[in-house]
Each structure stands twice: as C-alpha cells, then as structure tokens.
C-alpha cells in the first residue's frame, strides 16, 4: 500500500523564494505543514475557559490579539473564533485536547492545516514590501509585535501575523490555492531590493 505523503503548495518555489531574498534586508520562505486548528466557542462560556486552560493560555478576546502558549500561537479571528497554529504534527493533539475541553458544549474544533500554507517575510524591508499590496498601517506603532489581522494582500485574502522575534518578521497565512499567486507577487514586489538599493 502506498504511504500517504504531503506536498506543500510551494514545494516547487523553494529556490525561487530563496533567490528573491536579499541578504540582511529581506527573506521570503515557506513554512509548510504548520498545524492549524480552528476553534469556535462562546467566549463568555466556561467551555472557553476550559479551552484556554487546555491550550496553556487564555483565548485572546481583543481584535487582532495573539496569545503565545508554549509552541502554540493562538490568533483572534473573530469574537467567537480562533486559529491555533503549531508545529507540524501537532494538529491531532490540539484537536483532541480542545475537543475534550469543550466537553460536549456548543462549539467547533476543525483541523484546517491543509487549508492554508504559511509564508514568512523577514527583515528590515519586510514592512515596505507588504505595504505595496496591503492597505493596513504596518508600522510597529500601529501594528505591534504579536498582532494579527485578516485582510487583503495584493487582492488575496491573508491572515497577517507580526512575529518580530529578532528582526521585523511577518507570517502570511494564505489559502493553498492562492499560495503560488501570492509567492509570484512577493517575488515581483521584492525585485527592486534585489537589484541593489531600493532607495532612489
């Protein structure tokens, strides 16, 4: 019997993205196969509290808030909707823990890992690059570290997460079917930084 295997939407783009990166300025790369689980539950219910405890951090209740809980990142997607992102392979564990925490109360837990892939855009030019196709103000004063937003980037729907561990760093969560389009757009938008300068 054939072994099941996974191929990321940007499997053939690794080199293309690598070539469009500019040392010390900009790095674009796919982070494939991250575990993603959608959670929906009434935020004021005891079940929501139990879910928070099970994940190791309370579910964020502010628009665009991100909660880090160990190796899990919990994104606010709506007043009663969250996306739990974790390392590859954690999806089943997260799903089981959250389902157990719901304990039959009204809610939803869905593994959506294959729905989107993640592009990371890192470096001092990252904000410049994204703002070519995104109307949100991405300056750290307006869009701080550990914030997320669902918006349009170059006409593609994305979840944008600011991570900023060391350098300015963003995650773009994009639907698999839009991934190559968005990667092409990013490569094209990054062209000016590659051909030296960027400043007039």
């Amino acid at each position: 019997m054939a072994e099941p295997y996974a191929e990321s939407p940007l499997a053939t783009y690794t080199d293309v993205l690598e070539r469009s990166s500019v040392r010390g300025q900009l790095r674009i790369a796919e982070e494939p196969f991250l575990a993603q689980v959608t959670v929906r539950v009434d935020p004021k219910s005891p079940a929501a509290e139990r879910v928070g405890t099970a994940l190791g951090g309370m579910l964020p209740n502010q628009s665009g808030e991100v909660v880090l809980a160990g190796d899990l990142t919990v994104l606010w997607l709506g007043p009663d909707e969250w996306l739990v992102v974790g390392p590859e392979g954690r999806d089943r564990d997260v799903q089981e823990r959250v389902t157990a925490a719901l304990d039959g109360e009204h809610g939803a837990v869905v593994d959506v890992s294959a729905n989107r892939t993640v592009l990371s855009v890192t470096g001092p030019r990252a904000r410049d690059l994204l703002n070519k196709g995104c109307a949100l103000d991405l300056h750290p004063r307006a869009f701080e570290s550990n914030r997320c937003a669902q918006t349009m980037l170059a006409r593609a729907g994305v979840i944008l997460v600011r991570r900023d561990a060391e350098a300015p760093s963003f995650w773009l969560l994009v639907r698999s079917s839009f991934a190559r389009y968005l990667a092409d757009w990013l490569v094209d938008a990054a062209e000016e930084y590659r051909s030296g300068g960027g400043e007039p």
């Binding site: 539950v41 628009s63 709506g78 007043p79 909707e81 809610g107 109307a135 937003a149």
Partner: protein, 92 residues
C-alpha cells in the same frame, strides 16, 4: 474608496466588505397571510434615500461578522450609530 468601521476590527478598506443592503427589513410573521403585493414589497422593494441610510455590511475579508452602519448616501460619510453595542453581540 471608503473606510468602513467594523465594530470589531475598526476602520478598514471598503474592498474587505460585502454590502448587504437596507437594514431592519422584517419578514412578515406569517407569509401565508400577506397579499402577493405585500410579499413582493417585502422581497423586492427597498428604500433608496439621498441621505442617511441604515444598511448591513459584512466584513468578509476580515472577521466575517455582519453589522449595521448608518451612511449618508450623498457624501458617503459614515455616521456614528447607537447600534454599535448591539452590532457586537456575539451569536454562535
């Protein structure tokens, strides 16, 4: 281009939204009991004022919630609405 204030996400670009038309259109309690004319009025006829209009919007590219906005159709200015709190009521 309009900035539309989502009660959850704050002001966002018009392209992130879907328009839902006139707000507070009530479905007749007993559809069997109304005349064809009243039913047609409910289904097809909407106000079209030049001025303040109360309308539904959905933040489709963002939090995907429906909410109500009062907009001046002449100037496209969005007016503060008393319904903000109500618009934020969570429905699961």
């Amino acid at each position: 281009m309009m900035l539309i204030p989502c009660p959850w996400c704050g002001p966002r670009n018009e392209i992130e939204f879907h328009y839902g038309g006139q707000a507070d259109v009530r479905c007749p309690a007993d559809p069997q009991a109304v005349s064809d004319e009243d039913w047609a009025t409910f289904l097809f006829f909407r106000d079209n004022p030049k001025g303040v209009f109360t309308e539904r919007w959905s933040h489709v590219a963002g939090c995907r919630r429906w909410f109500t906005v009062r907009r001046d159709t002449d100037s496209n200015r969005v007016l503060p609405s008393e319904g903000t709190q109500q618009a934020r009521t969570v429905t699961t």
